[in-house]
């Protein structure tokens, strides 16, 4: 079991900090830009250069217009909590509760991330809460997590 080492990590308390274990994605030609964008402190999604829609998860073609001219573009990192759950189940021993959320990005209402809500009192998490991205760095991966705006 590996504890997060990034600056977003705090000792377990009532403040949510994500799970006490991290399973990491394997980087490949399609997903690498997404999982490493945090190195520059920005969140990026593929954007169709023809119909100008963001696409997630990454794909070789735009699923709307079927165009293949796609490029990663930065978004504001702002979004809104669409739903959340506080995980209490001890998937690994002695873990503290953590918050899993769905965050819909500000730029497009059908792009949703499953993520962790961090730097927030568990009791304060609510659907509709405005949030902003923070990154947690593990090896070659920067996980996009979200905290309340203005923390």
């Amino acid at each position: 079991m590996r504890r997060p080492t990034a600056s977003t990590y705090h000792p377990p308390a009532v403040t949510a900090n994500g799970p006490p274990f991290r399973l990491l994605p394997r980087l490949d030609e399609e997903n690498e830009f997404f999982w490493t964008s945090g190195a520059q402190g920005v969140l990026r999604f593929l954007k169709c250069q023809d119909c100008r829609r963001f696409i997630h998860p990454p794909s070789p073609i735009c699923p709307i217009c079927l165009g293949d001219d796609l490029a990663p573009e930065a978004v504001s990192g702002r979004g809104e909590v669409t739903s959340f759950t506080v995980n209490y189940q001890q998937w690994v021993p002695d873990s503290e509760p953590y918050v899993i959320g769905w965050v819909t990005i500000a730029e497009q209402d059908d792009v949703r991330l499953t993520t962790n809500l961090v730097d927030v009192e568990i009791d304060d998490v609510a659907v509709g809460m405005p949030v902003e991205v923070v990154f947690e760095h593990h090896e070659d991966v920067y996980l996009p997590l979200f905290r309340p705006v203005g923390q």
């Binding site: 739903s83 059908d110 499953t114």
Partner: protein, 399 residues
């Protein structure tokens, strides 16, 4: 609309092995017990079986999830097959039964043995329930769809569906007292099912006091892993008059998936695939939701049965909470008796096929202390959750 092809199929026999928390028997042993019971129930001999199907197929997941594949069962029973099929993709667990219906309708087979076997109780041993990747695989990197979920500790379908439940709480005002009616109802029914895993009474207060797993889902919102095998015989409808028991006619199947096949990108995260599978079933029949006498709706998690009540159009979108409020409407003597053998929450996670089996039991009037009266003529079955959904409408045969 020309007559749906699935109406050329009937369920002529049903069988179920012993069901228990940790039986310590092999998956093949349980499968053969269920299969032989179903073949006999259909009035057939082993030699009559010329088709074989299962979900999800051998090797499709560890931990007692998959059961034996069709080659293993075919060889154990030394079946001579004209058609065979196994697979984990498609309209939920019940997809194997749908495939069998279409095979008999197409003349590829006449009597298909379809089974689903789990040994998750024994595989789990004395330990707790594990999430996907929740232990033992910590060093492995993720590819494919799970890479968008598991890195955030969303390691279990419990987590993914808790997000659905909380979205419903926010949008529709769903309460735990409403959601709890489903596990309480199912437990009440399980008392009349000798094979059910949990049969002792449970009150709404017991439910509300249970430990939280992943809010708002508590322990009793999650089904119970078990060991058991369920088998049905899908036959051509022209066998109906020769079967020793009244057959269950397949009136319509629901197979659609019109939204995105994703746990977190579906256009309406309060419903997901169930909406499409439910709607597409009603598009194939002259029957209506009001004609259904008993419903067996997938309850791997209680929230799924709530979603299914709406997706099958027994109530409007977002109205599932008020629909079950107080519990009377879904009770054995209610307007829509639900999960009459205890569902998976109390009956055990027989993974969709237990619900199908119970639909047939009810249509045949063999439910004993849990039999719905008057004897149902139409039963609805729903399998799956999240981006996975399939439905079937069955009607009672004569004879």
């Amino acid at each position: 609309m020309s007559e749906p092809l699935e109406r050329r199929a009937v369920i002529s026999g049903i069988g179920q092995s012993d069901v228990g928390r940790r039986l310590g028997r092999s998956e093949l042993d349980l499968t053969i017990q269920a299969a032989r019971a179903a073949i006999e129930d259909a009035g057939l001999q082993r030699e009559d079986i010329d088709g074989l199907a299962t979900y999800p197929g051998g090797g499709m997941g560890g931990g007692g999830f998959a059961g034996p594949g069709t080659p293993v069962v075919q060889d154990a029973l030394r079946l001579s097959l004209n058609w065979h099929d196994g697979g984990g993709e498609g309209p939920a667990q019940i997809r194997a039964v749908m495939a069998a219906c279409l095979a008999v309708a197409a003349g590829l087979a006449r009597h298909v043995l379809v089974y689903r076997t789990v040994t998750e109780g024994t595989a789990q041993g004395s330990g707790g329930r594990r999430g996907i990747g929740g232990g033992g695989e910590m060093g492995a990197r993720l590819s494919g769809p799970f890479q968008w979920l598991l890195p955030f500790g969303a390691v279990s379908a419990a987590n993914w569906l808790a997000l659905v439940a909380q979205a419903r709480a926010a949008e529709f005002g769903l309460t735990r007292r409403q959601l709890g009616q489903i596990p309480v109802n199912n437990r009440r029914n399980a008392a009349h099912n000798p094979k059910a895993i949990y049969r002792e009474p449970m009150t709404l207060d017991d439910y509300l006091a249970a430990r939280m797993i992943t809010s708002p889902l508590c322990l009793f919102d999650c089904d119970v892993p078990c060991d058991g095998s369920t088998a049905v015989i899908v036959s051509h409808v022209d066998y109906a008059g020769d079967a020793p028991h009244p057959v269950c006619h397949v009136n319509a199947i629901g197979t659609a998936l019109r939204g995105r096949p994703s746990w977190d990108q579906f256009d309406d995260p309060t419903t997901m695939a169930a909406r499409d599978a439910g709607a597409s079933m009603w598009e194939r029949t002259e029957l209506t939701p009001g004609d259904v006498d008993v419903a067996q709706l997938y309850d791997g998690f209680s929230i799924l049965a709530m979603v299914w009540l709406e997706a099958m159009q027994f109530c409007g979108r977002g109205e599932g909470g008020p629909f079950v409020e107080g519990g009377a409407r879904i009770a054995l003597d209610g307007q829509l008796p639900l999960n009459t053998a205890g569902g998976q929450l109390s009956g055990g996670r027989l993974h969709g096929f237990g619900l199908l089996h119970e639909a047939c039991v009810q249509l045949r009037g063999e439910g004993g202390g849990r039999q719905v009266t008057p004897q149902p003529e139409v039963a609805a079955v729903a399998n799956g959750g999240g981006p996975i959904a399939g439905t079937m409408l069955l009607t009672r045969g004569t004879g």
